[in-house]
């Protein structure tokens, strides 16, 4: 073999070996730990979004109040929306993907453990950047950032730039995660785990990941175009030079509508797991529910302009999108009926996870019906941009996604914490949620149709909106009480609760066949799957066995190779974080100096990562 005149040095790639304590969390690549990191981080961010909402509701509790200024209010609703969608619901779903998918498919970890860690740290960087933008003035152009309100003329401050760049960083995190789960679910299923034996939550995760991969690049492009307009005077949304501001809306909503399915499909997956377990019956029409999810994901690409019914696209375009939007209600309805079919004739245990999933059905129904009202585009001309829309949104996202996520938090609590929570307190939380959300969000239907626009920091006396706004604000405190009960319950019991058995619920899927919490390697032996709801079937077949059973594939325990911790995912994420700040503060010391430093850190991280083998030979 020939050699170059320049000697290439032996590259020694630093690698942590059996790290402990805090350092072990920075370098972990274990999907379970990453899931917990996502969950805790996202929960705090959810609370921050709740603070933003509370301030908004206090301001609107009565007409012409001065609790916050117009400028602050406009930042509040923008940050609340952006936080709840990108920093709360999506990463809470990601927490579940991370913790559960390998367990549900019988794998030891995801396909790319370091990429998984990278997703989390990158997400954290993006989240910090967005929340820190409150200092100095956060973005105030709405979470949807319509042009030309986001133009440099209209909005010269850095708030918009922070919003743009942090969304790009969050997009990278989401994409990396989506790639990982697509490969994991296709390629790391245990032997015998065919597609139609996948747990429903895994199916929904897979469909969501595909949506992410296809939808995020579109908003990436939209944000790049906006950045170039703002920084370099390009003409993408410059009406004076022939640009169209409606183009932004098209690009945004082509992403934005699949995004709402990204928000709800994992939640639907959770509900589809919980209902069968606590009805002691399989999911009614498993294949149909899977197919409905896939159809929703597919059709979700054809409805985007229902967010633009009043933009002036014309009656023909509006007709097309009316029809496609109405059609998408059908598979959504199918899932609702299949869930009811699941509990019908079952043996229903009304514990906390089950109550939350049942509450999901009751509340999501209302949100779905108001959604169909929006689809009736002729009347949507009255509903659009009024409080009728937040009413719909919060029924599907709070009454829907959040209720389902809470169901999952309680359902899998024994598995990830190894402890049992207090049922009584869980039920109190549930009822506070049910009452609180209806008191807060139902009146919004009323004031919306009564002519109250949205995104207004105050409203005049004498419009007749006072009563229901006051009621809605009161509801917020019921919700706050509920969350305090939850934090107290889960916080105390995670530390000191009674030890949880491996299968406290008599579950149906593989994660219940191993200890709570599972060992680092998940399964002592990779199971061989023979049926849908394999763990349930195994238990029925071997009913007299006291000890949990898993099918053996013959793999010896001491041969288990677990991927090792690594610094590089954190380093690359750090490089992106520094680079992101460098893009926003691009004229500090030297143009784009900090961005350049970030880029160099990123490159070093990427190189080291690619040269580092998956495992050290020991």
């Amino acid at each position: 073999m020939s050699s170059l005149p320049i000697p290439i040095p032996n590259i020694r790639i630093p690698r942590p070996v059996h790290p402990t304590g805090i350092w072990s969390w920075f370098t972990t690549i274990d999907h379970k730990r990453i899931g917990i990191l996502y969950g805790i981080t996202a929960f705090f961010l959810f609370l921050s979004g709740g603070v933003e909402a509370t301030l908004m509701r206090l301001q609107l509790a009565g007409p012409e109040l001065g609790i916050v200024s117009a400028a602050i209010y406009n930042q509040l609703f923008t940050m609340h929306g952006t936080t709840m969608i990108f920093l709360a619901i999506m990463p809470l779903s990601a927490a579940f993907f991370n913790y559960l998918i390998p367990l549900q498919i019988g794998a030891r970890d995801v396909a790319f453990p370091r990429l998984n860690a990278f997703s989390y740290w990158t997400f954290l960087g993006g989240a910090l950047m967005l929340k820190l933008s409150w200092i100095g003035g956060a973005t105030d152009a709405g979470w949807f950032g319509y042009a030309p309100l986001t133009s440099i003329d209209q909005n010269p401050g850095k708030g918009i730039d922070f919003w743009i760049i942090s969304l790009q960083i969050l997009g990278i995190a989401s994409l990396a995660s989506a790639f990982n789960f697509i490969v994991t679910i296709i390629n790391l299923r245990a032997p015998g785990m065919t597609w139609m034996r996948l747990p429903l939550f895994t199916w929904m995760t897979f469909i969501t990941a595909i949506l992410l991969v296809l939808a995020f690049p579109v908003i990436t492009v939209a944000l790049i175009e906006l950045t170039f307009d703002r920084y370099f005077g390009f003409n993408f949304f410059n009406v004076a030079n022939g640009g169209s501001v409606v183009l932004w809306q098209h690009l945004f909503w082509v992403f934005g509508h699949p995004e709402v399915y990204i928000l709800i499909l994992p939640a639907m997956g959770i509900v589809s797991e919980v209902l069968p377990v606590f009805s002691k019956k399989p999911l009614f029409g498993y294949a149909t529910v899977v197919l409905a999810g896939a159809i929703i994901a597919f059709m979700g690409w054809m409805v985007w302009s229902h967010h633009m019914f009043t933009v002036g696209l014309g009656p023909v375009a509006n007709t097309v999108f009316t029809i496609t939007t109405m059609l998408i209600a059908v598979p959504t309805g199918i899932k609702m009926f299949n869930w009811i079919g699941t509990i019908w004739g079952g043996s229903i245990k009304l514990n906390t996870p089950m109550l939350f999933s049942l509450g999901f059905i009751a509340m999501f129904l209302i949100g779905g019906l108001s959604g169909v009202m929006h689809a009736v585009s002729a009347h949507d001309a009255q509903q659009q941009d009024t409080y009728f829309v937040p009413a719909h949104i919060h029924y599907v996202l709070f009454g829907g996604a959040i209720m389902a996520i809470l169901s999952g938090i309680y359902y899998w609590f024994p598995k990830y914490s190894g402890k049992m929570y207090s049922e009584k307190e869980g039920k109190i939380h549930f009822w506070l949620m049910m009452i609180g959300q209806n008191v807060t969000f139902f009146p919004m239907h009323f004031v919306g149709l009564d002519g109250m626009p949205r995104r207004i920091y105050t409203y005049a006396e004498g419009m007749g909106w006072d009563l229901w706004n006051a009621v809605a604000t009161a509801g917020v405190f019921i919700l706050i009480a509920g969350f305090l009960v939850m934090i107290n319950n889960l916080g105390r019991h995670w530390r000191n609760g009674p030890t949880a058995p491996s299968d406290p619920w008599d579950g149906r899927t593989l994660e219940w066949s191993i200890s709570s919490p599972p060992p680092e390697h998940n399964f002592d032996e990779i199971p061989v799957v023979t049926a849908l709801d394999d763990w349930w079937v195994t238990k029925q077949d071997s009913q007299n066995r006291a000890v949990p059973v898993s099918g053996g594939s013959g793999e010896e325990t001491h041969d288990i190779h677990m991927p090792q911790a690594s610094y590089w995912p954190f380093v690359v994420a750090l490089g992106l974080f520094v680079g992101a700040y460098g893009v926003v503060f691009n004229d500090l010391i030297f143009p784009y100096l900090i961005a350049g430093i970030g880029l160099i850190i990123t490159f070093i991280g990427v190189y080291s990562w690619s040269l580092e083998p998956v495992n050290d030979p020991e």
Partner: protein, 246 residues
């Protein structure tokens, strides 16, 4: 504690996969799917704004199809060179591998060179058209098309264009953004290829057993090439040659 970069633990062909396909290959395909949507959105933006610029220069003014055809050809050939590099590696012909990788990188760099030339000539494009006839003289090979354009022009038609910048009009904005991002993708690919080339001088880094590392780079490179074919057809060719009957 550091770990030495080594060549012993290559899991690629031995790790368990449900489908028998390699994880990293699947990852690359998933990534390319997202990159399709990325370029798709940029191309869609270009098409939405096609013909809507309020001022010139317009595509027909600045595009030089013969020159761009050459750079397109060079990029296409670089894909072929990449295939040959991979083939050489699988047959354990490391020197062949290095030659073809180097030539791929050189051809990629040549393509970028053409792009740089194109961008700079567009941005300094300057023309004063006193009359329509002068336009015909300037763009010789498009005589028929220009005649059609001029048929409706007034006498003593005067036009001055002073450089196509991204800020000039919608064409500049969308064209530079789209082709700029493509060029960035090519550049990253060149860096990747050069990295593999340099690594091949380190014992055991690039071997037939580790062919996947090169396979992934090749896949990426071909994708970037296919995107260029789409751009060349939709933006350059369709931008200059009118559709029959239009």
């Amino acid at each position: 504690m550091a770990t030495e970069v080594n060549n012993d633990t290559n899991h690629d062909d031995h790790e368990y996969t449900t489908t028998g396909l390699n994880h990293r290959k699947m990852l690359m395909w998933a990534f390319l799917g997202s990159d399709c949507m990325f370029f798709g959105a940029l191309i869609a933006t270009y098409l939405v704004y096609q013909g809507k610029s309020l001022v010139g220069p317009y595509p027909v003014d600045v595009f030089d199809i013969p020159v761009t055809s050459v750079s397109t050809f060079v990029l296409l050939m670089s894909s072929m060179s990449m295939v040959l590099a991979y083939a050489a590696l699988t047959q354990n012909k490391i020197s062949g591998f290095r030659i073809w990788m180097a030539s791929t990188a050189i051809m990629g760099a040549t393509f970028i060179g053409f792009q740089v030339y194109e961008f700079s000539s567009f941005s300094t494009f300057h023309v004063d058209i006193e009359s329509c006839n002068e336009k015909i003289v300037k763009h010789g090979i498009f005589d028929e098309y220009e005649e059609e354009l001029c048929a409706n022009a007034k006498e003593d038609h005067v036009e001055t264009h002073d450089g196509l910048q991204p800020q000039t009009n919608l064409f500049g904005t969308t064209f530079y953004t789209l082709t700029g991002f493509h060029g960035a993708h090519v550049t990253l690919g060149i860096i990747w290829i050069l990295s593999l080339l340099f690594l091949s001088y380190k014992k055991g880094m690039i071997t037939p057993e580790r062919h996947l590392d090169v396979d992934l780079a090749a896949l990426y490179w071909h994708f970037v090439d296919v995107v260029w074919i789409v751009i060349f057809t939709v933006i350059y060719l369709f931008g200059v040659f009118p559709f029959p009957g239009s």
